[in-house]
């Protein structure tokens, strides 16, 4: 029982990342009709927003410590962060410690800006081109973006820890009447799940309860009619691209304490996220979220030793098997709409 609960928690946690990325992908596909293979790169750039802010906050000046030597035997150069000078060591340490949550504020404008520039600068030129062209150009863009990140940050993962207040684990087992330590889950992963739920809820609320969102939904349903009403739907869709980029970026920011970011992390998520979108139903926002969590849970259960003993290697193919079964039984995915990508 404990193992099942733990794998459900794992699935919800994995599913959070899948759902956030797939949500952004679906927003872009639903509004602009573009299959954006650069979306994983946006997730990765979000993570590097956290790395960048962390480095900015930790900017240092050098002080020579004559009492110690470096590896060459020279007096040791000690890096002292400027925040120590400005706010004192205790406050400075706290600011550095909270770099990842602070990065949320940094990442939102950066990611919206990147999204808008991407859409206006490149992707808008491919609206009326076949999906194959869109996939090629966005995939190429993803590779360019990751090579740029690799050039500036290197190929190695960069540790970006969570605030020390969130480094432990929460004992669900004790809360649920099981033995202590049997069902523990890291605080930061619980926060990630709650953060994902908040973002997903926020996006749905934005689309459902604001005039802007209503116009966007109308545009997703019938773009030409909305334009005939004199509404500049293109501008709103451009902003939606920016918002989708920000959603992916925030998913990346909050993911950095879970796994040290590296330039390739976007590609690791990209294919899975497309499977999530297809299983959820192309263009369906609730479908993307539902499929994200569903596939996350399925993947977690497939990684259990008991399952692997019976079906070796199932962990590597389970998502694709589930996708095949769902698409065979429900060709439009779980919540797909008729007519989307069927022309």
């Amino acid at each position: 029982m404990e193992a099942i609960i733990l794998q459900i928690l794992n699935g919800l946690d994995k599913g959070s990342a899948y759902a956030l990325i797939a949500l952004g992908l679906t927003l872009i596909f639903g509004t602009l009709g573009v299959v954006n293979f650069a979306h994983g790169a946006l997730f990765m750039i979000g993570a590097f927003c956290a790395v960048t802010l962390s480095r900015i906050i930790s900017l240092s000046h050098t002080v020579i410590d004559d009492t110690q030597t470096d590896f060459l035997g020279n007096p040791l150069k000690v890096e002292v962060p400027y925040v120590y000078d400005w706010f004192g060591q205790a406050t400075g340490d706290a600011i550095i410690d909270w770099a990842v949550p602070l990065s949320i504020l940094f990442a939102i404008p950066v990611m919206i800006g990147i999204g808008v520039i991407m859409e206006r600068g490149l992707i808008k030129h491919f609206y009326h081109r076949p999906h194959a062209d869109q996939i090629l150009v966005t995939f190429g863009l993803a590779i360019v973006l990751q090579e740029i990140i690799k050039y500036y940050y290197g190929a190695n993962p960069i540790p970006t820890p969570a605030p020390s207040a969130f480094t432990g684990s929460f004992d669900f087992g004790a809360l649920m009447g099981f033995d202590a330590g049997q069902i523990i889950y890291p605080y930061w992963r619980i926060i990630y799940f709650m953060f994902a739920a908040l973002i997903i809820g926020g996006v749905f609320a934005f689309l459902q309860f604001t005039t802007f969102g209503m116009v966007v939904r109308a545009g997703m349903a019938d773009r030409e009619t909305v334009q005939l009403l004199g509404i500049n739907i293109d501008r709103r869709f451009t902003l939606m691209f920016g918002i989708a980029a920000a959603v992916a970026g925030l998913a990346g920011v909050m993911y950095t304490p879970i796994n040290s970011p590296n330039y390739h992390m976007g590609m690791d998520f990209l294919v899975l996220s497309f499977v999530v979108v297809v299983v959820g139903g192309m263009g369906s926002l609730p479908g993307a979220v539902l499929a994200g969590f569903l596939l996350g849970i399925v993947e977690s259960f497939a990684s259990m030793r008991e399952v692997l003993d019976i079906l070796p290697g199932i962990n590597q193919i389970i998502i694709y098997l589930v996708a095949i079964i769902i698409l065979l039984t429900r060709p439009r995915g779980l919540m797909g709409r008729k007519g989307v990508m069927e022309d």
């Binding site: 994995k14 540790p159 330590g181 523990i184």
Partner: protein, 445 residues
């Protein structure tokens, strides 16, 4: 009276055929005279440095390339001479190799076997590389080693830790300085037993590829010989990034030790995830739960950050060693680049010098003569203590370092501390246990 029909086309055709006929013996004699692939003819000799310049091990590859450039500098008599000053063999004079100035070409393995073979082939066929060296993966090493065997050039392996490189996949033209999985197990197990006791239950997470299998087997066999019990082994996909679903079952198992047979990004992520799940703070079977990472590299330890603190592993070499060779190499590398070298840089630098030295001692670039000079060659002063290049499998035998993540690092490079220098006698094994056949040396041409 005869009439000669001289036409422009006829003259050209006759000239071309005659020219080719005259040139052919020259071409054949050049090859047959040298008798081996890419025999250097001018005043230079070209070495091929095949390292990951892109992909997940690009940083490690960059450090390898720095080391090779430093080696070339020292071989050509530039810089401070580096390990030429401490190397027990005095055949190298700093005047190139056999008087020929050393030049080099580079290739990008991308840490993919097919790409690595393609770049090695290009360096051999187009650039005339007489020797190929480098790499950060056993899969790549085995693939490139086989190619060099076919092409008739020497392969001096870079960072490759699988038993297979000098075991079942060994080749007469291939040589490895780096240690291997067996040695890791043999060095690590006694230290683990001393620190954690002999009554332990281990759970292995193993990367699902060749290196993972051999490392798991080596560590499992060695720790079981010390009295440990293996309660679970699970293969994890090489592409896995989030290991949470593999780590949570450990909580339900009977294990009190988790062994992460992972390298590179896999290791960084699995260790980070294991620490997140509180395994370091866990009490199991009345003991502190422990994590072990069999193969460490400083670059990986940097990626895992504070999570490596107190965790045991092994390494081929570390810049904090205090022997004359290590100090000299750290001085040369650190002065040139501003930071201490990694173990990948060290093994690559040493391999380049060992090759050059073997050529000098053999008096020939012929790969078979060079191979003979390397076989059973004993040397010192290169940073690992007295070392033997065993003739039976072309594997170097030297002391192995058991290291631990440092609790209070003083810099971003000061991440590991040496716990024990395991003597070579403890990690030596019978060459026949891993099978394979060296075959015969291929000089090519």
């Amino acid at each position: 009276m005869s009439k000669m029909n001289l036409t422009r086309r006829g003259v050209l055709q006759t000239g071309a055929v005659a020219g080719a006929g005259l040139a052919l013996p020259t071409y054949l004699s050049a090859a047959s005279h040298a008798g081996f692939t890419n025999a250097p003819t001018g005043g230079t000799v070209t070495l091929g440095f095949n390292v990951p310049q892109s992909g997940p091990y690009a940083d490690e590859g960059a450090d390898e390339l720095r080391a090779y450039e430093l080696a070339v500098e020292h071989l050509n008599g530039e810089g401070d001479g580096g390990l030429l000053n401490t190397f027990s063999s005095k055949a190298l004079k700093g005047n190139g190799i056999l008087g020929k100035k050393v030049e080099y070409v580079t290739g990008d393995t991308q840490t993919k076997s097919d790409a690595a073979r393609a770049s090695a082939r290009s360096m051999i066929e187009k650039d005339g590389a007489i020797m190929v060296t480098g790499g950060s993966s056993s899969g790549v090493a085995v693939a490139v080693q086989a190619l060099c065997q076919e092409a008739g050039v020497i392969f001096m392996a870079g960072l490759t830790h699988s038993n297979d490189t000098t075991g079942k996949d060994k080749k007469a033209n291939g040589f490895r300085h780096f240690f291997n999985s067996y040695m890791t197990g043999a060095a690590l197990a006694p230290v683990l037993a001393n620190n954690y006791g002999t009554d332990r239950k281990a759970y292995h997470l193993t990367a699902d590829y060749n290196w993972g299998y051999t490392t798991e087997e080596a560590v499992r066999t060695s720790t079981e010989a010390m009295g440990w019990e293996t309660v679970g082994t699970v293969l994890t996909p090489l592409t896995q990034t989030d290991f949470s679903s593999y780590i949570t079952p450990v909580l339900q198992s009977d294990a009190d030790v988790l062994v992460l047979n992972h390298y590179g990004g896999n290791m960084v992520n699995s260790l980070t995830n294991a620490v997140q799940f509180g395994l370091r703070d866990r009490i199991a079977n009345g003991k502190n739960f422990e994590i072990v990472v069999p193969l460490y590299s400083r670059l990986m330890a940097k990626g895992a950050g504070a999570n490596v603190k107190g965790i045991f592993g092994s390494t081929n070499w570390h810049w904090s060693l205090t022997d004359e060779g290590s100090k000299q190499f750290v001085q040369s590398f650190g002065t040139k680049y501003g930071f201490p070298p990694s173990q990948a840089a060290h093994t690559c630098y040493v391999q380049a010098l060992l090759y050059a030295d073997a050529v000098e001692r053999a008096g020939s670039f012929n790969p078979c003569a060079v191979g003979e000079a390397l076989k059973d060659f004993e040397f010192d002063g290169m940073g690992n203590g007295p070392t033997l290049y065993r003739g039976e499998d072309h594997q170097c035998f030297k002391d192995v370092l058991v290291v631990k993540g440092k609790e209070n690092p003083t810099s971003e490079f000061d991440l590991l501390e040496i716990v024990e220098v395991t003597p070579v006698s403890q990690v030596t094994y019978d060459a026949s246990i891993f099978g394979g056949d060296l075959g015969t040396c291929n000089p090519g041409a």
